[in-house]
């Protein structure tokens, strides 16, 4: 997994609540057996019309935001299905960080498996970052994972909360399975104990 340390980039404003995983990557693109290539269809139904032509008003089609690496969005981002295709599509497009007042649980976890940093901040702070993002390509937002800060283009610094283990894995690009494999003796021991206590399970 790609590490995440610091990021300074264009932030695209998406002031919508309940952006669901069907919006992020519609189901017709889930018929892949690969993780890559989904960026072309990120937000497909909002980004392209029925003929596949770009919809000019959609934020990521606007010249200022085509190279966006950060998304600033409304409450409950990523709600809906468990499809990891959602973070895969964001990553493939080039989005490494999503900032919103809250995230749906499964989407939030999926981000960390793919080197994407989801940052939850209070609504009033997201409002400030949204305003900043609306300034366009010259206004770059900075994110420092180690310091757990977001810095606006005006230099205003805000702190965010994050689980220490998730932070550690993201900072170092660690593979979860490898880490868990190191604890295989605990799993073995648990399994023996559980087998004795609940042999039917």
């Amino acid at each position: 997994m790609q590490k995440f340390t610091t990021l300074t980039g264009i932030a695209a404003p998406m002031p919508m609540i309940n952006v669901d995983t069907d919006m992020i990557i519609p189901k017709q693109f889930l018929k892949t057996i690969k993780r890559s290539g989904l960026g072309a269809n990120l937000f497909d139904e909002m980004r392209f019309d029925d003929d596949g032509k770009e919809i000019d008003s959609f934020v990521l089609n606007q010249p200022a935001y085509r190279e966006a690496e950060i998304l600033v969005a409304g409450d409950n981002f990523g709600c809906g299905s468990s499809r990891e295709h959602a973070p895969w599509a964001l990553l493939d497009f080039g989005i490494r960080c999503v900032i919103a007042p809250s995230f749906a649980d499964i989407f939030y976890n999926n981000c960390f498996k793919n080197g994407i940093l989801p940052i939850a901040l209070p609504q009033d702070v997201v409002d400030v970052l949204m305003k900043d993002a609306e300034k366009g390509a010259n206004a770059r937002i900075s994110v420092d994972l180690e310091a757990q800060t977001v810095t606006t283009s005006d230099g205003e610094v805000v702190s965010f909360e994050l689980d220490a283990f998730k932070k550690h894995c993201l900072l170092n690009g660690l593979d979860d399975i490898g880490l868990t494999m190191e604890k295989v003796s605990s799993i073995d021991a648990f399994e023996s104990k559980a087998q004795a206590a609940r042999p039917w399970a």
Partner: protein, 468 residues
């Protein structure tokens, strides 16, 4: 011992390792796998030379993108990309030695319907699947939730999941339901109260007389949509109905193991003084047959209501409501019962079980689908389909003018050919009304099976109580 919730008890019995910061390895008893969210996980195992740690606890079935029309066991009758995914699952199941129900097997069906049906789903177990509606299995007092593909790979390789414990939320539905009100109306009404993010960070336990009174099928409907309220999982404490449902199923314990299991299962309830981080109480008698008007499952209103106006809302919901109304092609103030419907879909892991088909058939018996409408029933599994045929329900549907399909997820997420056309309006018994969910531009109103049947007869959203 300090009092515990049901969630606390199941959690405590499955922690294989706990780090100082509370990060746990939660042991997984059952891993359900389908064709859409697993290929990359198996590919990951191959690339790293890892095996499936517990193939005996891993169950696979293709359901999401399989056609529901005859001849589907021939890959030529599938789109090429769907056939590739199904073929990949065939191969992965064989190569890794996991339990498998191919489309040619009568036991094939939606993963969350066949798990309970085959007795894989047991009280007090932990169950995961690369699908958010895994919450369904919580109806048995199993801790069950959806995971992403990286986590699918993690569970395949280690039989554990890296987790931190969620908070406890109690949703109590007191008293009796009124006639015509179903489990679907309960679960939608709860989401209407909490919002789609109201359960984020929580595991919900549903309790109260109205929940206890539900059949296992109804309880599955309630827990199924816990995820639509944002919760990690939904739970209902097991009771005699649960045990009765499980007993004798192919993979349920038998003999002495059954007795031992039963003794354990009877300890699975929330203690009287257990701590709840959040509590919601709704009177059963206050719940009406509901429909959704917008593009979020929280957009719930009684069928007797009218389409709301964006000005009825606050904050980000004002703009969201306007967007929903534009997408849905609705005008504020329109009575919901005057909204004309083009299509009716009965099925899904929410409402594709035998009881759901019985409820719809009871309304449809001797009636016809309104001229010009499309109506389809997609049973949740091959066995539900067979039972419905045996009970004569299939004839009721067919005589009424419904298409009688083979089992699968179908038009719930429209990954297979069962899709809505742009602006086509559908009364659906499924779980999501998101933009484009049932087909690009398609408009979804979520309802109970009885309400779906009523809409098929009248051609508009209809109060099922008028047809009973």
């Amino acid at each position: 011992m300090s009092p515990k919730t049901l969630y606390d008890k199941i959690w405590d019995d499955h922690v294989a390792h706990e780090a100082e910061d509370g990060t746990c390895l939660l042991y997984i008893d059952r891993h359900l796998v389908h064709e859409v969210t697993s290929p990359q996980a198996f590919e990951g195992l191959r690339m790293t030379g890892r095996k499936v740690r517990e193939p005996e606890k891993t169950i696979a079935v293709p359901d999401h993108n399989v056609p529901t029309t005859p001849g589907r066991d021939d890959p030529k009758n599938m789109t090429e990309d769907s056939a590739i995914q199904v073929a990949a699952l065939d191969k992965n199941a064989k190569d890794f030695g996991i339990h498998y129900y191919p489309v040619s097997d009568v036991r094939q069906g939606i993963v969350h319907i066949i798990g309970p049906e085959q007795g894989w789903t047991l009280p007090g177990t932990t169950i995961v699947c690369g699908d958010s509606h895994t919450a369904t299995h919580g109806a048995f007092g199993a801790l069950a939730h959806g995971i992403g593909t990286s986590e699918v790979e993690h569970v395949l390789a280690t039989q554990t999941l890296i987790q931190k414990k969620s908070k406890n939320m109690k949703v109590e539905i007191t008293g009796k339901l009124r006639p015509g009100v179903t489990a679907k109306d309960i679960t939608l009404s709860v989401i209407g109260e909490t919002g789609t993010a109201g359960g984020t960070g929580y595991v919900i336990e549903y309790c109260g007389e109205a929940i206890r009174d539900l059949s296992m099928e109804g309880r599955m409907t309630v827990c199924n949509m816990a995820i639509e309220g944002g919760a990690r999982a939904g739970l209902i404490a097991p009771d005699e109905k649960t045990f009765e449902y499980v007993k004798g199923r192919p993979h349920a314990p038998k003999g002495a193991a059954w007795e031992a299991a039963l003794t354990y299962w009877k300890t699975l309830f929330s203690d009287d003084d257990a701590h709840w981080d959040k509590v919601l109480t709704i009177k059963g008698e206050d719940i009406a047959p509901v429909v959704t008007w917008g593009t979020s499952p929280e957009d719930v209103l009684p069928i007797t209501g009218v389409v709301p106006s964006p000005s009825d809302f606050k904050g980000g919901k004002v703009e969201a409501a306007q967007r929903s109304l534009d997408y849905m092609g609705l005008t504020p103030g329109t009575p919901l019962s005057e909204i004309a419907i083009d299509t009716v879909f009965i099925g899904s892991c929410t409402n594709g079980r035998i009881e759901d088909l019985r409820a719809a058939a009871a309304i449809l018996k001797g009636k016809k689908v309104k001229d010009g409408m499309r109506a389809m029933v997609v049973p949740g599994s091959g066995l539900v389909r067979a039972q419905a045929e045996e009970e004569g329900l299939a004839d009721v549907f067919k005589d009424a003018g419904f298409e009688w399909r083979l089992a699968g997820c179908s038009m719930c997420l429209a990954m297979n050919p069962d899709q809505l056309a742009p602006q086509e309006r559908c009364a659906a018994t499924s779980n999501r009304n998101f933009e484009g969910r049932q087909g690009r531009g398609g408009r979804t109103h979520l309802v109970s099976p009885g309400m779906a049947a009523a809409a098929a007869i009248t051609g508009k959203l209809t109060d099922v109580r008028e047809m009973m």
